[in-house]
Amino acid sequence: MKLNPKLFDDDIEQAPIRKGFGEGLLAAGEADERVVGLCADLTESTQMHLFAKKFPNRFIEIGVAEQNLVTVASGMAAMGKIPFCSSYAMFSPGRNWEQIRTTICYNDRPVKIAGSHAGVSVGPDGGTHQAIEDIALMRVLPNMCVLSPCDAIEAKKATIAAAKTKTPTYIRLAREKTPIITTEETPFEIGKAEVFYRLNNPMVGIIATGALVYKAIIAARELEKDGISVTVLNLSTIKPLDEEAIIALARETGALVTVEEHQIAGGMGSAVAELLAQRNPVPIEFVGVRDRFGQSGTPEELLEHYGMGVSHIKSAVHRVFARKV
């Protein structure tokens, strides 16, 4: 998979996933002059400042008005532009869901919505700023593509790829620095899941998305010592689902754990369960937030408190392994 050779080193490089979005948007803007940027008063925080500085005439500062953010973008898309809108996921798509539904998805306009600061790992800002419902909000919309990159490099590739599609797209980003798992050479394609960790004769499959992919890989490595062999699939596109990859993993392992920094209700795990219940039922355990809101704390404290640490992934694997028939 051409992953970072330092993947298991203590001094693995770290970068915020949102940084990859900023770099990807700049690259997309250089490659295609139809790309425009719109932001709701969070230009640097969402890393759109790189684009805004380079292309001031193609950047619109919307102010604190997320409903306007996406509806203006819809109008620009109607004129042939490829608009990228950025804000915090809690506000966009958190606050402007109906506008996204009607003016972007119902109209089938190629607007790209970048939701930064997703998940509880936002940290000290507290629960109002921790979007843990956004995957559910976006994947339920017809025409919408949902991307959830696992590190800054993959976020850059996802952003560049999104600029080339005609599809409304949501790109989920995280605030905190997270380990760099991938390299420039790691394959990335919208709609395609990639195996990031593989042992022979895997007994359990983990499907992970976003910043927690790293923790899933660490858990898998530790589980090997416990005598459980695990394969980890990086699901960077949540919609459309890579059905074949998920079904193949379910068939090979017969038991799955899904891992995401999101409510279990309606999230990536739900999408996997919807597919497998119909096509290839296997026992599944879900790692995610269990119907609660976040709070202030360090990212690590919060991930531990809400049950998304390495230890929680490992116990979910043990639980699902015990359920295998």
């Binding site: 409903q67 109008g75 004129m79 608009p83 109209n107």
Partner: protein, 281 residues
């Protein structure tokens, strides 16, 4: 605008009102007051003002007309049908299939069923932002030469939605002289008169304070509408809002100025009565 043109437009608007009544009676649901009240302005735009080609709806150089308050689509559909957007039998198709299964004439505008629409609409308050996005895109491409005009038709009631004012604020900031909003100031909404439900006055002052150019007009007088649009287009450094004073239900005295007619269609008897009145004009 000469007398002959005015007579032509008046006749056209009356034909459009007749089609609206026929379609609503056949549909058995839909909105009556707003479509009748806006028939003159739609007629003026589609039969006089807009740069457009009904035979080639995706002509890139066309002016853009965004209908924000999608529920008055019976007047948009009827006007487009009379202008020739849907073929020779477009008016008949409209009258027979408004709000019916698989029809291009959906209950609220839906681009997937009618590609000639600039946008889908229904949920209120989002049209002005979209028209502004179009105007901004045009300015990125062609600067301030303003080869195209961007019209947003909106209701007064939808000004209660915050999204409308988010749009107003940005358009003022961006000084979009190619953007013209037309507000159907008919003073009614579903629950009653706007000033009882949620007062909007002083409406012109509100827009003025958002750095818009204000034009007020009698929305049933073609010469006055022509003057208002001319004044709006003459303002280059500000977006313009035309506050069109209209009579909801205009043309059928029994329907006029009654908010009860906001969201219901005429039944067969009421429709026959309305047609009798309109056909006498």
């Amino acid at each position: 605008m000469d007398e002959k043109k005015i007579k032509f437009l008046e006749k056209q608007a009356n034909e459009i009102r007749i089609s609206i009544i026929e379609a609503l009676v056949e549909a058995g649901s839909g909105h009556t007051a707003g479509p009748l009240g806006m028939a003159d302005i739609f007629t003026y735009l589609y039969f006089h003002e807009l740069k457009h080609d009904p035979k080639k709806h995706d002509w890139p150089e066309r002016d853009r007309l965004v209908l924000s308050n999608g529920h008055i689509c019976p007047v948009l559909y009827a006007t487009m049908a009379h202008a020739g957007y849907f073929g020779n039998d477009g008016v008949e198709k409209y009258k027979k299939s408004l709000r019916k299964f698989n029809s291009p004439f959906q209950g609220h505008p839906h681009r997937a069923f009618m590609p000639a629409l600039e946008t889908s609409s229904g949920p209120l308050g989002s049209g002005l932002s979209q028209a502004m996005g179009m105007a901004l895109a045009e300015r990125i491409d062609n600067g301030k030469s303003y080869k195209k005009w961007f019209y947003c038709l909106m209701s007064d009631g939808e000004l209660e939605a915050g999204n409308s004012w988010e749009a107003a604020m940005l358009a003022g900031k961006e000084k979009l002289g190619n953007l013209i909003a037309i507000i159907d100031r008919n003073k009614i909404q579903i629950d009653g008169f706007t000033e009882d439900v949620m007062p909007l006055e002083p409406l012109a002052d509100k827009w003025r304070s958002f750095n818009w150019h204000i034009v007020e007009v009698n929305g049933h007088n073609f010469a006055d509408i022509d003057r208002a649009v001319g004044e709006a287009k003459a303002e280059f450094d500000k977006p313009s809002v035309i506050i069109a004073n209209t009579i909801p239900g205009k043309g059928v005295p029994d329907f006029e100025r009654k908010y009860e007619w906001h969201g219901k269609p005429p039944n067969k008897e009421e429709g026959a009565m309305a047609l009798k009145v309109l056909q006498r004009v």
